[in-house]
């Protein structure tokens, strides 16, 4: 070692190597020395020392050869020295890399066993948030209707009787008011009118049509309130998505086509739809809309025999009410009932979520137990 180091510290002239022959011999000597030392690099520490001894920028052997042999060499020798140095460098670099790979491959098995991760352990758990399931269902409904040109609108939850009832063709003492038990606000004495909590999102139909002329296509999500005693299927606050489309050429067929599209997008293409005539003061013809039961595929029988508990054996599940906008409603918003037509629907979001996810108690939505929230990531 010392002989090589002492030689690379000297110039070629000092080594009496003025001809290519001795130069080649000198390089062969250095290379032999390198090969010998390489074998001695048996672990990471000795390999690093070995690498630095040969490739170190300041005092590595190759740097010394460059500084002491190549740079001062006579012009006639420079070419030979350069070629020999390049060859040596390629060899040294390749061998050092090969040595590293070999060392890593042969690393101590006990170390690896100690370091090996246990894949059955959890990773670091960072807190993650989630959307409420009501919100998720609404976003799905919004996506479906945005695709077919329905914009989103909203309106106040505290409404006047005019928007909640009268303008929707529900005058005072109309029998359907008995079915929509209503919360009223306590107002200061002398207040000119009443305020109530809207019993449906339909008032926003009126507010939307007051603001714009046809064509109108909106969906309206929001909270609605009915003064029902709470139980597993009733909450005095729940959520609806109102839909309204009014144009000069909308027919009942367009209405059923739109609803069918929605149901196929939401529940899947295999679901069948059915429209039953019904009655709402602000639509005519009015329908109740049913989808084939997603739990028994419309058969009405449960997998284990007996009637399907979700559709009570009917094979159909009542989804929501809808219909063609009653012409009387247009009178309240200065639309010409002889020229325009349209349809409206009111989807219960909570009910849809209960159906889709098999939730049997509506109250669980609003308790906000984190064990419930976690189930809908």
């Amino acid at each position: 070692m010392s002989s090589v180091e002492s030689k690379t510290a000297k110039t070629l002239a000092a080594l009496d190597a003025a001809q290519p022959q001795p130069v080649v011999a000198l390089f062969a000597e250095v290379r032999a020395r390198f090969d010998a030392e390489a074998a001695a690099a048996h672990d990471e520490v000795s390999w690093k020392l070995f690498r630095d001894a040969w490739l170190g920028r300041k005092s590595g052997v190759l740097t010394q050869i460059t500084d002491n042999w190549l740079k001062p060499a006579s012009p006639e020798l420079k070419r030979a020295v350069g070629a020999a140095l390049n060859e040596l460098r390629a060899h040294v670099e390749a061998q050092i890399e090969a040595r590293r790979v070999a060392l890593e491959g042969a690393a101590d098995e006990t170390t690896l066993a100690r370091e090996r991760v246990d894949l059955s352990l959890p990773g670091v758990v960072r807190p993650v948030g989630s959307r409420h399931i009501i919100r998720q269902v609404f976003e799905e409904i919004e996506r479906i209707f945005l695709q077919i040109g329905f914009s989103v609108a909203e309106g106040p939850e505290i409404e006047s009787p005019y928007y909640n009832f009268e303008a929707l063709n529900i005058p005072e003492f109309h029998p359907v008011r008995d079915d929509m038990d209503t919360f009223y606000l306590e107002l200061p004495k002398g207040a000119p009118g009443q305020l109530l909590l809207r019993t449906h999102t339909s008032p926003v139909q009126i507010r939307t049509m007051e603001k714009q002329t046809p064509p109108v296509r909106v969906i309206v999500p929001g909270k609605v309130y009915r003064r029902d005693n709470p139980d597993a299927t009733h909450s005095f606050m729940f959520h609806q998505v109102e839909g309204l489309a009014v144009d000069t050429d909308i027919t009942f067929c367009d209405f059923t086509g739109t609803i069918e599209y929605f149901v196929h997008e939401f529940f899947g293409p295999g679901v069948k739809t059915r429209f039953r005539p019904s009655y709402f003061p602000f639509t005519e013809p009015s329908v109740e809309f049913d989808a084939s039961c997603i739990f028994c595929a419309g058969r009405g029988t449960a997998a284990g025999g007996g009637a399907c508990s979700k559709c009570k054996g009917a094979g159909w599940i009542e989804l929501f009410g809808a219909g063609m906008v009653d012409p009387a409603v247009y009178g309240f918003v200065n639309y010409d009932a002889a020229k325009v037509s349209g349809f409206a629907f009111g989807i219960g979001i909570d009910r849809l979520a209960m159906l889709k996810y098999g939730i049997d108690d509506i109250q669980v939505f609003f308790q906000n137990d984190v064990r419930f929230l976690r189930q809908f990531p």
């Binding site: 959890p122 758990v125 948030g129 040109g149 914009s151 939850e157 027919t251 059923t256 009655y279």
Partner: protein
Amino acid sequence: MKVVYNWLKEFVDLTAPAEDAASRLALSGTNIGGIEQGAQGAVIEAELTTNRPDCLGHYGLARELSAIYRLPLKPVAPKPAESAAKAVGAVRVEIQSPELCGRFTARVIRGVKIQPSPAWLRERLEAAGVASINNVVDATNYVMLELGHALHAFDYDLVRDHRIVVRQAKPGEKMKTLDGLERQLTPGICMVCDGDGTRAVGIGGIMGGTETEISFSTKNVLLECAWFEPVAIRRATRFLRLYTEASTRFGRGADPELAELASRRCAELILQLAGGELLAGVVDAYPGKRAPKKIALHRSEFLRIMGVDVPDKEIEAILAALGFAPVRVDAQRGAAGSLLAAWECAQPSWRAEVEREIDLIEEVARIYGLDKFPPRFPVARKAAARLPHAAAEERLRERLMGLGYREIVTIPHVAEERNELFRPAEATPARLANPLSEEAGVLRSTAAVTMAAALEWNLNHGQRSARLFEIGRHYRLQGQQSVETRVLALGATGEAREKGIYDAARAFSFADLKGDLDAAGAFAGGFRWQPEGGAWLHPARCGRVFLGAQELGVAGQLARRVAERLKLRQDVFLAELLLDPLYVAMRAAGDARRFVPLPRFPAVERDFSLLLADGTSFAAVARVIQSLGIAEASSIEAADLFRGKNVPAGKYSLLVRVLFQSPTSTLTEAQITDFSGKIVATLEKQLGAQLRAG
């Protein structure tokens, strides 16, 4: 209504099984609750919509089935034997309030024998869900269930002067109804009275009185079959909170023309069940007689609404079966399928709600079958738009979820007592006039109150750590107006980091809440914090959040006093921020955002370990450093903070990290030393800060 299928067969020769009929009814507008088999055969539970009072009797549903199956409907034409004596001489009727009572018919049956009804009648009433009382009362109920028109039988001898006076109730008037309750009345309620009209013997169309009730000693019967104004009936039932079979039928609109027929049918039945003789004719006061309305139906309008045509024959058959007597009136008469075809229809007296062309269109469509109108997809003519703030709300929601918050949805009804704990003094609460309970008597004045309740629910159900947010509204009154304001509520409790294999536990603190809010505020250019919060917050751990000069809300730890009231046994952190100004600022900040070139020269960090008096804020330190005007001091941060060991009382230790950077050159050691020296000297001079060794 319970519909006895065999009863329907008395009016239509139905051959289809009850299940088929029920299904066809359901698809033509009569909602079916179910079918049960009993001693009387199939009983169908029909849930009728309020617009179909005509179907509150078997005959009305038989008419529906006759239209559905195209089978003839048998007429009801009772011809009871009458005595020589006339009813006109035996009873007088005077309607003083024709606006409440449009028709009043009276018949008299003499010499009846009141006794229990025969088995066939009792069983049929029972199948229809009506209890049997005696033969005469049962006859009135039977006719009500058969024809859908309510009747009332009086004991003729107990009706003073054999005279009926119909008038509205007087202020303060009272009467005892058949159910034994004394009823407080009010003007607008229609009273059936006797004699000189002072004594009420029944509330018209709702319930009779006890004083003229049929009993087993009744010999002679006065049979009332009248027509009462529906809106007045609905007002009265709501005022009295008294809902009866009669009030349901009159309240939804009975058929005035049917009154005489129903009376005749009932008289026939009474003669059959109780014997006696029927006085000839009827006393019929009918001030409300209306001429039948004419309604036109045009094929062009049908097509415009429904989109698909229905053949002439179908239209005519359906309308005829339902009683509309359609007549082609257009010039193309006889040209089948003409687009110009028009029919004139007569409104049947039992279908007062069918008044317009659209009503006829619905009649045709529902019987023809809604499944015969093929679904089609309408073409949109305008681009769809989300709500103006939808994008900002979504970014905010995503950020909060990224920070580990779960979204909640709450019912805004809260107990006033709770609302008061959180309500800012200037906010007027929105109270309900008719709450379901005191626990839900007021709409929340802030979303903090419902957020606290959500955390409370979780703590009470063994969930000790929770991070929640809600995007909702709070509700207040401003004078006589309601104000709904979009707000964000945050709530957190328990561990910010749970103990696990890799980490130690760390409790959620005010700093977590502030950091999370600031992460959201970054979208809007950053929040500014000011001391103090609401009275419901811990006085030392709270702050007000601002965007520029606009206050957005408060954040902090729930005050111990409030936490104790709510029985919360661990620290709870809450915030409520206004969303509309935040959304506006988010949009503005987004529009104004521009790229800042990355620095080309290295930055040098210097730490200053300072000993400061308690109460000297980091902001004060930063301000002093900034006041030196060292342009190269590109950031000033608090890197560490501690009290206690080795720190004298009344002082705390703050490690301030200043980053020096120049956009034009690499800073030299001499420059850094110069800056540092100035900083230390100024902090010592202005804040009394001491530089700690090391």
